[in-house]
Symmetry: D3
Subunit: 328 residues, 6 copies
């Protein structure tokens, strides 16, 4: 689809053909009892309503035209009361393999992946403790599959950093804050903290599915990301002869306890300062991302965001402006 235009670039009257992701798809019955298809189609640039008035123009299996499916469509852009929509002539289900590079259909991190990977590598290199550094290298450098997945996965299905690269972006943000915290609380073992930060969510690469829509894998639903990453850490440690047992326990403890409360899925409470810190900074970073996004949402101009279910509150969107230092 490399030569297909982005939805955001389309003008009224333009013809369009290509692949789009169906965010919504529903068969509806008109007043005359005839069935039509109403779609919401998207690429990474945005989305449009689209209508196919004669469902006989669907090629192949009608039932495959569903939310989360890729569709090949052909039609034209029309304008209705100032809003663009698409009137379709042809629709068919498109297999993943036809579509090629999915990244053009999904939201992605604002930070380029290579930059983030370089920051990850620098962070690992900065670890003084040789055991911890070797463990991190084994997982994030030597294991190229995991490295690739870590760079692509979102941080969550719906809560925060819900975009490709979100897991890495979130992890690096927590890591940067953790370094600042270690500068302040000098009794913290910074290397142990960073081990916990880098590993705390790495299991999400296998807990979540993010190839087409964002969801949970079978392993994610049955085990959860904490059990997944615990296993990976144990395997990696097993390949490092002489790895200290107390260190293994303390790293696993941070990972197991990082949700902070049993009812949030951590089987143990944080019982070391490093575990406590990782829990707080992880939680804070995720919630701040939600709040900043709510404040910056351009589709909304009110003082208050809509009710956010995961946070169980609305966000106040008005920001008290910073004072320019020179004005002081």
């Amino acid at each position: 689809m490399s030569d297909q235009p982005l939805l955001r670039s389309l003008k009224e009257g333009a013809a369009f053909q290509g692949f789009l992701l169906a965010q919504e798809a529903a068969y509806k019955v008109s007043a005359k009892g005839s069935e039509y298809l109403e779609l919401k189609l998207s690429d990474a640039s945005g989305d449009l309503k689209a209508f196919l008035w004669d469902v006989r123009a669907i090629e192949g299996d009608m039932d495959a035209v569903q939310p989360d499916a890729f569709l090949w469509v052909k039609g034209a852009v029309t304008s209705y009361n100032g809003r663009l929509q698409m009137k379709l002539d042809k629709v068919r289900f498109a297999a993943d393999v036809e579509v090629g590079d999915f990244s053009r259909f999904f939201p992605v991190s604002a930070r380029p992946v290579p930059d983030m990977l370089a920051e990850l590598d620098a962070l690992i290199a900065s670890v003084e403790d040789p055991w911890i550094r070797r463990l991190l290298e084994a997982l994030f450098v030597v294991d190229t599959d995991l490295r690739a997945a870590f760079a692509q996965a979102p941080a969550a299905k719906s809560m925060h950093h819900v975009f490709l690269g979100g897991l890495l972006e979130h992890t690096l943000s927590v890591a940067a804050m953790a370094d600042r915290a270690c500068g302040h609380y000098r009794a913290l073992n910074r290397d142990l903290v960073q081990a916990g930060v880098l590993l705390h969510d790495v299991g999400k690469t296998a807990e979540l599915s993010y190839q087409r829509s964002f969801g949970y894998t079978d392993a994610g639903n049955l085990l959860g990301h904490i059990a997944l990453e615990t296993d990976w850490i144990n395997r990696a440690v097993g390949k490092i002869p002489g790895f200290p047992e107390d260190l293994r326990l303390q790293i696993l403890h941070i990972v197991l306890s990082h949700h902070g409360r049993l009812e949030f899925g951590s089987p143990v409470l944080p019982k070391t300062p490093e575990a406590l810190l990782v829990h707080y900074l992880d939680d804070l970073d995720g919630k701040l991302e939600v709040m900043f996004r709510a404040a910056q949402d351009e589709s909304d101009s009110g003082s208050w965001s809509p009710y956010h279910r995961a946070l169980d509150r609305m966000i106040y969107r008005r920001r008290w402006p910073k004072v320019d230092p020179v004005e002081k």
Copy 2:
């Protein structure tokens, strides 16, 4: 200590010397300002109050005379208002190595360990599924250290089956009930259920310390038994080439979810019938053991047990008698 008499067998006037476990130990001050030592000493047969009126008769480190320590004592049994107690002449701390076989100091399962191990082996042999059987053999037969620990550990620190061999006794009881349940609910996969039953608490062999008093190990406090046994299962599976991934997920899921609720330390809820069954039968078996023990406690003759904190209730001790079938 093989030739030392059991506490329960002592009569008034008998001399005693040997090792006993200090369940309580406190230095107290008499009205004259002199310090004395008040002890509660036990072996597996029972316990006695004991007094050392002159603390200068303590050999070695006074501060080592603490609850949970073994002591070597010398004294005589006296009777006071019809109750036996011990008047001591000498007390000293005893290192574990002197004491030898600890099992004479602790409550033990009413079932002989060899019988229980035979039942375990028969259960494993009855598993039809070759993958599951190999996994169970690897852990409970091939790994002789784990097998030995599994036969010795208690099932909990204070909740239920708090005696040596209690873990195995509890596990086999759940397994027997599970077989009965599989006979009733025919859609259950019996082999998968038994895998879950046998593995659900095996991590307690490393979560709990039970060499002297019953407590938690560092690994137990930092990781919990669920994370410990999950690791062991993963390692054992890793050594069985071709072990099916979906089976691994389903077994781990039973283990991870067997506490039934997140706030009880399971990071996931039971999502398969087998996981649900193991959770219910495990929970039921532990609580029934508490109730039956309360009803049979000979030191108590009232209708109600004392308040049981873990169950948050008192137990009704009066049993409605069974009718002899022939009377019908």
Copy 3:
């Protein structure tokens, strides 16, 4: 309606007239501003969408055409994009009395009611304790109205065993498991357990309404099934001279405590082994039924069931296959 065809047997083009249950009924406005009626009509074999394009063809009270009402309809089966639907010519509300035997409109237990009643009778006959047996006979044999209702009621409005005969099927399933449990935990009083099992939900015959749709009666909403059946047990006991008071207390205790937690509507916690067992087996049976149903649902082919609100989880539908014993 004895000669009316089942919905599942209808073919395109067939004419239909007869009674059907309206599961959904809504007046909608077409683009032209004309009102039409959209229905989902069902009998025990399935359901179909149906449309009446001219609402003036409704006979009698338009407002009586509502969900949960029986309707008499006349129309023809049409096919639209491969799906059958019904185009109606006439619709009218039908009083219950016209419809006759409701059982053709509702899901029913897969087990024949006479078989289940025979099993119930055998179970009661197996009770050795004469007091308990007389109590159960009084309620389930002598009281023919209760016996009939017990054979017809569903086990719940929406949670589990939601079909006619479900209450009896659920009760017998718990009873069979309870017998197995009593074979294992020999200290249990089996007759007392069976009294608890058979009586624990009998109040649902008056708590639920299940003549047309499944709901709650006034007594069900105001008192709940536990208070209802407690009353019935007290009345029955009152007619058995010399019934032992402690036995009455223990039976009522099982019934009152069988929800296991105060927040689930039990005014007391289970404080006897028998009460604990009934609570666990009842809860387990209901949840397993939900899980097995989810796994067997043919309308769904994914690995996961939809989110189940009462269980607060999705169910994993993939079953690890049993190994044929001979393959071992």
Copy 4:
């Protein structure tokens, strides 16, 4: 014990012999290893510490000398640093039958029982609804055993109105407030409210034991007062031919729901205005009694009461003084 002096009237040097209730009783070991008995003895007027230095002076079973037992004691009042205590020469366990009228050993309501019963009768007589009036008469007038128990029972074991006559005093207080509330909320059915008020705690006469110390009966622990009184109401209704079923449901509903929340032991929530009112006024009256008692406790002169576990708070004891109307 009619001629035995009250504890509060004793002076230093006085001899004493008679029955007293042991609130505390403990055997202790002195510095010399001799055992002595330390008691706290009470009658309704107060309590004193007492010591028996030679336990051989105990007549009969030493182990029967326990908290909550009546004891017959002989000794003399001594003064120690300005506080009175009792030095005993003889102590023996006393059977209930010896002691006679228990009421001299327990706190009692400040209101005379005959006055309270007259108020109860007037309240019942004021009920206009003939069905409700007959029901109340059946329980509180015709059933003379229940009437007597209702006049003697405390309202709770430890929460509020913990004194003989407390149940009736509390009930009448709620009833008086309920009449005031019905005067304000005119849509309330006052007779229905009063039925709920008078019956809401009547089961406490059988839930609590209050012959010697305040505790729970077996029936109380196994069923709870709500189930007990529900049974009694059903029995009484059963003897009134033609009693309206809807009225029975509404009265039982008030009783069943009066704890207001499931986790407080009500199997249903209040769903009628009358049930809601009874719940609130009952709860308010009990908590106010606790607060007023805390404020008036003469043994305490601080601004704050001790922490009250049932209320989970301390009570502020300082009262803002009322202004005399004439000063205005």
Copy 5:
């Protein structure tokens, strides 16, 4: 809009033009792909469905036609299957300033505002304590803006007394009940109670917005009414020289604690009898209003109200009839 007819008075065929409040407003697409506008329009007398089939007939900004907006409409009343609706020819957004007096669009208290204000003044005048009376006068008499707002605000956004004047009506109802309670519990300081009652919700005048639809202000969302009124009381107290500090604390304590539980937004629990009383009577009054409204709802004829989310229950609507005293 003084000469515009009320919706309830309109007959079929009548022409209408004037201002109405849009409770619902949605653009929909017809089967032909043409867009139409579907509205639900209301004034204080009721509401009607309305349709504008050609959206080009909208004057001005289409996007301003939203729920909660006032609209100027022109059209005619039609009848469809016995129900009235409106077919519109013209629609435009109307600014608040055009509409004038909003009160004709909203539900209002059944009690006339002047009557309620007179009752408020009498209540304040009845306060004997000069400090309390001066405080109440400062806020409710001297501060005429607050007095006006207090007479206009609803008591809540959606819970109870959701109509103009509802805050005052609710407050006076609680005050009347409080006087009755002080007559019964004589140890209560009635003036302190009334201070708490009158002030407990006064911050809702600034927490809620009720000029057009009922919602929360920014201050309401950020601070809540308790913090708002606490500030006002402090300011008013600050202007009364010599106001006793202990009285200030006790009044503020009632206000701060009146939600009764921390999880309901009170930062402290009620720790004085007066605070406890105000909490209970406030809560009771709000819930009773909901229940009485449910029972009197003429649009509903069933025994049960719809599920009420704030109360988490359905309300039983059937009232047991009062007996006429003379019939006794």
Copy 6:
């Protein structure tokens, strides 16, 4: 008491006379029935057990000798089995005014108060926003009473930073972390954050009493520190003409919401990024202080701290050692 030696400096045989704080004080009865006084006496350097064998040697009111009282004592240091204790000859209650400077009796911050005040001033001076800076200056610089109290108060009664100067030390630690967080999350308004940090606990100066022992004031118990500081902020804002209303709301919002959850006493949830940050950093700082203190407690040498009730867990005391950078 300037010339009185510190307890930690005393040797066996030393005579002592002076003021000490009674941490424990109990009258006990010896085996002979004679009463003696057992004390635990402290100054800021530590504590000692002390005994007065003849209570007639108490001067003045015996009942004034209570925990939390200052006592004047005279006696000598004795050694008993290697532990120092004090044998007293004279004891009397000492009024506060005699004792003079209390600070020698309490734990104090390890940071000198002048250093901390200088850091506070620098922080305020660094605020760019003129409104915020003026508000902070009004409270912390102009109000010298508040400034003095802010430098003396502990941060809590028992949770964390329980020492004189603890409130300021905690506040500055949060402020330093907040600056680091603002450097990372650039969208945060740093001045608004610092306003929230400096003000979030300032009410503790009036909520807590810390003159002798650490407890709550009446205002603290009745209103809580959040309501206290909210009032002070409102007063200070009221004296700054033109202070922006939105800024006032946002600052108060941070203060009101900083406990993060309603059940922890915040009447609103954090709804701005700044409020969220202050909540997290405040909570983190308090809990880390507890954990670091547990790890550094020299009186304890085990791997695990005692159970910490406020954190509901034990703390792992073993620290994984940092690697010296040069070793890398």
